[in-house]
């Protein structure tokens, strides 16, 4: 008999949500990395810091749009924040969706302020108020608070999936940490890819590549534990999705690690660079969300029987 989670119906969380999980995770991760470099890095890290804050702001804006469009009633998105009948704030700390809506809004605020500061820093904005945001103590407060919220945004999405009764998602408690680690590695990969193009001889790239390697190792461990803790629910992967999962592990984690640790330098005559590794990590991060969402979405009860992909 399949586990109890198989006797439920899917919530139709598909491409909008998958893109949100991916983009939101990158936004949160980029903010955290920028904040870390701002607080503990060198002065020549500044171009990368500003890039990270810009990505975070654009990412969170896209996230908000994706989430609103995905609602059955987009005109009522504000019901998550304000009770429409009483006008009072709507907040349930035990509902990840409720906490997530507030977290996304707060993170949106911090990333907006950080992006303003960054725009002042690279001379795009000549606003005295933005200048204050770019300097301590305000910049430090924004970095600290936004960094924490960034982590929240990267991790709560997995917790949200676990706090359901659906196959795979609710069968393990490791999806939150897995998404968080994947968001961190994807964010570092985006920064590496964009910094290599936009900022010639950018400082901090070596550090980012090293960070990405370590986080990928953690991600691999978390993914292994996640799969083990699924137990009998892992039967949802006994189909083509299992092959996709294997591809995510090999191409999205193992190959970038081999490139990162210098064990793989060429593939069919082509030189493999840190850029190749970063692109693979990014693709792997996206596919990790696809491969954890769709196999669950495709399980449903038809008549009295469980149907799975």
């Amino acid at each position: 008999m399949p586990p109890d989670t198989f006797f439920t119906q899917p919530p139709h969380w598909q491409w909008y949500i998958i893109f949100y999980f991916f983009v939101g995770g990158i936004a949160g991760g980029c903010f955290f990395l920028s904040a870390l470099l701002q607080l503990f890095g060198r002065p020549d890290d500044r171009p990368i810091i500003r890039l990270g804050y810009y990505i975070a702001f654009v990412g969170v804006a896209i996230s908000g749009i994706l989430l609103i469009v995905d609602l059955g009633r987009p005109d009522r998105f504000w019901h998550m924040m304000i009770q429409n009948k009483t006008g009072r704030p709507m907040f349930k700390y035990w509902s990840p969706m409720s906490v997530g809506a507030w977290g996304l809004m707060l993170f949106g605020g911090f990333s907006f302020l950080a992006a303003l500061g960054a725009a002042y820093g690279d001379g795009r904005l000549r606003w005295r108020l933005a200048g204050r945001l770019a300097e301590p103590p305000l910049s430090t407060i924004i970095a600290l608070a936004g960094g924490v919220m960034g982590f929240f945004l990267a991790g709560y999405t997995g917790v949200l999936l676990s706090v359901t009764n659906r196959p795979i998602w609710a069968d393990s408690s490791w999806l939150g940490i897995l998404y968080l680690l994947s968001a961190a590695s994807s964010a570092a990969a985006v920064l590496i890819l964009l910094a290599r193009r936009q900022i010639p001889d950018a400082a901090g790239l070596d550090g980012l590549e090293r960070f990405d390697k370590y986080v990928l190792v953690l991600e691999l461990v978390a993914l292994a534990i996640f799969l083990i803790t699924l137990g009998s629910a892992s039967r949802a992967f006994l189909n083509a999705w299992g092959a996709v999962l294997l591809l995510v592990v090999v191409a999205g984690i193992l190959v970038p690690l081999l490139i990162g640790f210098g064990r793989m330098r060429q593939f069919r005559g082509r030189t493999l660079t840190a850029g190749t590794a970063a692109a693979l990590v990014l693709l792997g991060g996206f596919m990790l969300r696809v491969v954890t969402i769709f196999p669950s979405e495709q399980v449903s009860v038809v008549g009295s029987r469980v149907v799975r992909p």
């Binding site: 509902s95 550090g207 009295s304």
Partner: protein
């Protein structure tokens, strides 16, 4: 609060007439699927197939035939279980899902914004989006009828009293007596599903009498609340965040050590 009210569905007397499905659609003005076009499923007498946003009652047909003339039909009119501890109510971020004075669970259609987290949270797969309203909908246990002292449309229409409506305490006693009666008559597989207030999710205010394992009817054996994973999952994520933060700091420290080493190396090289 008024007395807790609910349904006791005795599946042994269900004849699969679907009067409940029709009465429910009729009273609640629920739209037909596919613009009213016939859709044949090919699965027994069941063309409804599942509960959803515009189907709040669903008669399941289970054919247990090993050989011709050897076997039986199982029929069950499925509905929202109005859990005493409701997973949907727990996760709803808009406050659309409420518990009423009758201890039933109702989705307020003017509050719901269609985020669909309740669909994933329901341990029974009861809720879905109503395509007309764009919001999540399910059985209200005919809240409007109950408010004026009427019985819900489905149980009113049920010709065999397979669906019985009443105060939960009374229904539980009646159900227990019926199980004893069936056992005495030789149906040893008779059992109640969701009648125990000490059982999973605090008991179901719409409970069932089954004559086989719950899974045979497409029901979970031990329905659970979605929040069971909240603390562990959140704690693991916080731990993950702490580890990533530490990795970030270690990476930066490594770089600083390299910087310091380079600075120390430079004067020596100059001396040579």
């Amino acid at each position: 609060m008024a007395e807790p009210m609910g349904f006791f569905t005795d599946t042994t007397v269900c004849i699969g007439c679907k009067a409940c499905e029709v009465a429910c659609k009729n009273w609640n003005q629920l739209p037909a699927r596919a613009g009213g076009q016939p859709e044949m499923s090919g699965q027994s007498y069941d063309n409804t197939l599942r509960l959803g946003g515009s189907t709040w009652r669903h008669v399941k047909f289970i054919e247990q035939f090993d050989a011709p003339y050897e076997g039986r039909w199982l029929m069950l009119s499925d509905v929202c279980k109005h859990c005493v501890q409701a997973g949907c109510l727990e996760v709803c971020p808009t406050g659309a899902i409420i518990r009423t004075e009758f201890d039933t669970v109702v989705i307020q259609s003017d509050v719901c914004n269609g985020c669909r987290t309740c669909i994933a949270a329901c341990p029974f797969g009861v809720i879905d989006i109503n395509e007309v309203s764009g919001t999540a909908q399910k059985c209200t246990l005919c809240y409007d009828r109950m408010s004026v002292g009427l019985e819900p449309a489905c149980s009113k229409a049920c010709p065999t009293d397979s669906i019985q409506f009443g105060p939960i305490e009374e229904l539980r006693q009646r159900a227990a007596a019926r199980v004893e009666q069936l056992k005495a008559a030789g149906e040893t597989r008779a059992r109640l599903y969701g009648a125990d207030p000490e059982g999973p999710v605090g008991g179901l205010n719409a409970f069932f009498l089954l004559v086989d394992e719950p899974e045979v009817y497409g029901l979970p054996r031990e329905p659970e609340l979605p929040s069971r994973n909240l603390t562990t999952s959140a704690a693991l994520s916080v731990a993950g965040a702490a580890v990533v933060g530490a990795v970030g700091l270690v990476t930066l420290r490594h770089r600083r050590m390299q910087d310091v080493a380079e600075k120390e190396a430079t004067p020596e090289e100059q001396a040579h």
